[in-house]
């Protein structure tokens, strides 16, 4: 057993951290306060480092590294709350193509994704609906999509979307549609540094990914794989919040002593540390199941997702609390992380939903064992 990243991966982490410290600092705030939907300079820089093609095989223009390497990058991106469509294009659209696309589709899209020239997203939500195939309302027929998807992370910046739909007979399908002529509307959300949109498909040409009927299964597999990558982003963000809170607790004085010397603060931050360590351990195990496609992946993914969601929300909210009144100001970055924490908790479905999946999978595992 070897339960840690390799020396090379740690070097990759250092490189990523340095790049993001120099290039992503303050960028999320810039997006929230400005008009752009994401930071194109940062995106270009990430592309120059080859990050979008991390797991894309070399034959499709990527650099053909492992998912563990991508996890390392994801953690650093999470730490820096980089305002880019990386998660949509890489953890979701790319994974969908790698999972089920035809060779032609891969040849068409993967090189462009790897270079950062094309951005993909995953359109699966249709508002608040029962999470089951029967509730999909978007219809795919005769190579065309009709229906409305919302919220779609990066739907307003992406060039194409992987769309969950169903045939008129009710068979779930995963499809791929170019968004050039699709009406998109940017939605007001809790965290504008990660843009979300409403997409209206109105007879939009689309191609199948995978087969008719397996769309829901594919979508669930895709969400599981992405859950592990998202868990690393969440972990990075949670750890950053803990660092911010610890730094502040050492500097801020009250009653003649640093507030970090009070047990009320110590125990709170120890609990945050415990939550991040649990999240880290689950995320690492998830990374291994993802890289090796281990049979335990669905359980590991759900557990990593729950642990990371818990940790980030706890860390972000207690970071504000530790900062006191200053933490509640627009000026400090605490709220940027608080927004991102909740946004990422809800991406791919909320914590409750993942807990439900986790217990179902544990039940099945016990039956199978």
């Amino acid at each position: 057993m070897n339960f840690d990243f390799s020396e090379e991966q740690n070097l990759l982490r250092e490189q990523a951290r340095r790049f993001l410290a120099e290039n992503a600092e303050g960028k999320a705030r810039g997006i929230i306060e400005g008009d752009a939907l994401f930071d194109r300079d940062l995106w270009r820089g990430m592309a120059d480092l080859g990050w979008m093609g991390t797991v894309i095989p070399e034959e499709y223009g990527g650099i053909g590294l492992s998912h563990e390497d991508l996890c390392v990058i994801a953690e650093e991106i999470g730490r820096s709350i980089a305002p880019t469509p990386f998660s949509s294009s890489v953890y979701l659209a790319t994974e969908a193509l790698l999972l089920a696309a035809s060779d032609e589709q891969k040849e068409d899209f993967l090189p462009r994704i790897a270079s950062g020239d094309t951005i993909g997203c995953f359109a699966h939500n249709e508002g608040t609906r029962k999470p089951e195939p029967g509730s999909i309302a978007t219809i795919y027929t005769d190579g065309k999509l009709t229906g409305e998807k919302k919220p779609v992370a990066d739907g307003d910046v992406a060039d194409f979307a992987v769309v969950l739909a169903k045939t008129p007979d009710g068979e779930p399908v995963l499809t791929l549609a170019l968004l050039d002529n699709v009406a998109s509307e940017t939605l007001e959300t809790i965290d504008p540094s990660r843009s979300h949109a409403r997409l209206r498909f109105d007879g939009t040409p689309a191609a199948l990914i995978g087969n008719i009927g397996n769309g829901w299964t594919l979508s669930e597999r895709l969400l599981d794989r992405a859950a592990i990558l998202f868990a690393f982003e969440q972990l990075g963000g949670a750890h950053r919040c803990l660092d911010m809170a610890v730094d502040y607790a050492k500097e801020r004085y009250a009653f003649g002593r640093p507030i970090g010397s009070f047990q009320a603060i110590k125990h709170k931050l120890a609990d945050v540390f415990i939550a991040t360590e649990l999240a880290r351990s689950h995320a690492y195990y998830g990374a291994w199941t993802l890289t090796t496609d281990a049979p335990d992946l669905p359980v590991a993914a759900a557990a990593a997702r729950v642990a990371a969601s818990r940790a980030y929300y706890l860390a972000a909210s207690e970071n504000i609390q530790t900062h006191g009144g200053m933490g509640f100001t627009w000026e400090l970055d605490c709220h940027l992380y608080y927004r991102r924490a909740k946004l990422l908790n809800l991406a791919l479905g909320g914590e409750r939903r993942w807990k439900h999946k986790l217990v179902s999978r544990l039940e099945n595992r016990n039956v199978a064992a």
Partner: protein, 410 residues
Amino acid sequence: MDFEDTPEEVEFRAEVRDFLDANAERKAPGASFAIPYGGDGLVTAAKEWQAKKAAAGFSGITQPKEYGGRGGTVIEQVIYNQEESDYVTPIGIYEIGLGMCIPTMLAYATEEQKQRFAPPAFRGEEIWCQLFSEPQAGSDLANLRLRSERDGDDWILNGQKIWTSGAHFSDFGVIVTRSDPEQAKHKGLTYFFIDMKSPGIECRRIHQISGTSNFNEVFFTDVRVPDSQRLGAVGDGWRVSLTTLMNERLAIGERPPPGYEEAMALAKQIELENGPAIEDGGVRDKIADWYVNARGVTLARYRSMTALSRGQDPGPENSIGKALTGKMRQDIAAFGMDLMDQSGVISDPELATMRGMFQDALLAGPGGRIAGGSDEILRNIIAERVLGLPPDIRVDKGIPFNELAKKERG
């Protein structure tokens, strides 16, 4: 990363399984050893089991061969623990001795003493206990008062220890004492190992909430200990104690039930207003949390093991398991009983659901949050040693111990 066994590890695991299949019973879901911790006959059963383990080469797996260990790797210890946890075996007798006392002996005793004491301990023939806490020294261990005074080649010990697990059936013990009360509290401590059969030692068992008595008060009246049994320098007892405590988190074995598996098993057999409890959202929410905690602690431990196997210090990060699981077991017990409604009050194993496991855990549970570092102390350790937060203001700092003691007496 790699969770697959290496070819050597595959072989080792098979060897462990063969041994366990031949000598122990595979665990049915929710089962534990027939004799509970503190129950009669557990020591005899544990001695038999330990002897078998040692004969097969599975005692002291990471300890050197020349002292009766296996000379194996940390990963082999993990593999052994994983496999043994699937079988019903007696637990709770050797963890402290082999996990904390013997490693301290191996770090500080003379070559001759190591040869004499380590092998019989690994074979289970001699049981060790750890005499640290006192009535005035629990979380604040350095506040201990048990006096040691030099007398020729010997030391004379007088005072009282408390919460000593297994003192009444132990052959030897490690003890930290106050040798110089004129020094500040962390100084002036001296560490020994002692024969528990020495004249002047009296053990009185403590009757606990759970009805069992595995802790003791241990009284020392003019107990004579040869200076050759001192571990570390005179006045250096605090540092030696830290060696013992460093080993503590790694020594803690499998978590006692009920855990999330038992909570799931219970939820499947209980019917609520809208169907089986396992389908209830509130129940699923808790089971998911407990799974994430329990599995997360196991995985965090694997990370520590990886660090250890590379010769790195796993550090106080290890405290997270202990900081979580005591409270969790108590919560699972209370919640399980709640699912049983008023019938949850029944603890008679013949009548109670799942043989009274949840009721037992409710009563034994509070101990898990106190023993071996309370939940609060563990959080202080994490905050100060891992996060680097400033220490609390210490009103006892630098003050000679005898003056402090006077103040506390009022």
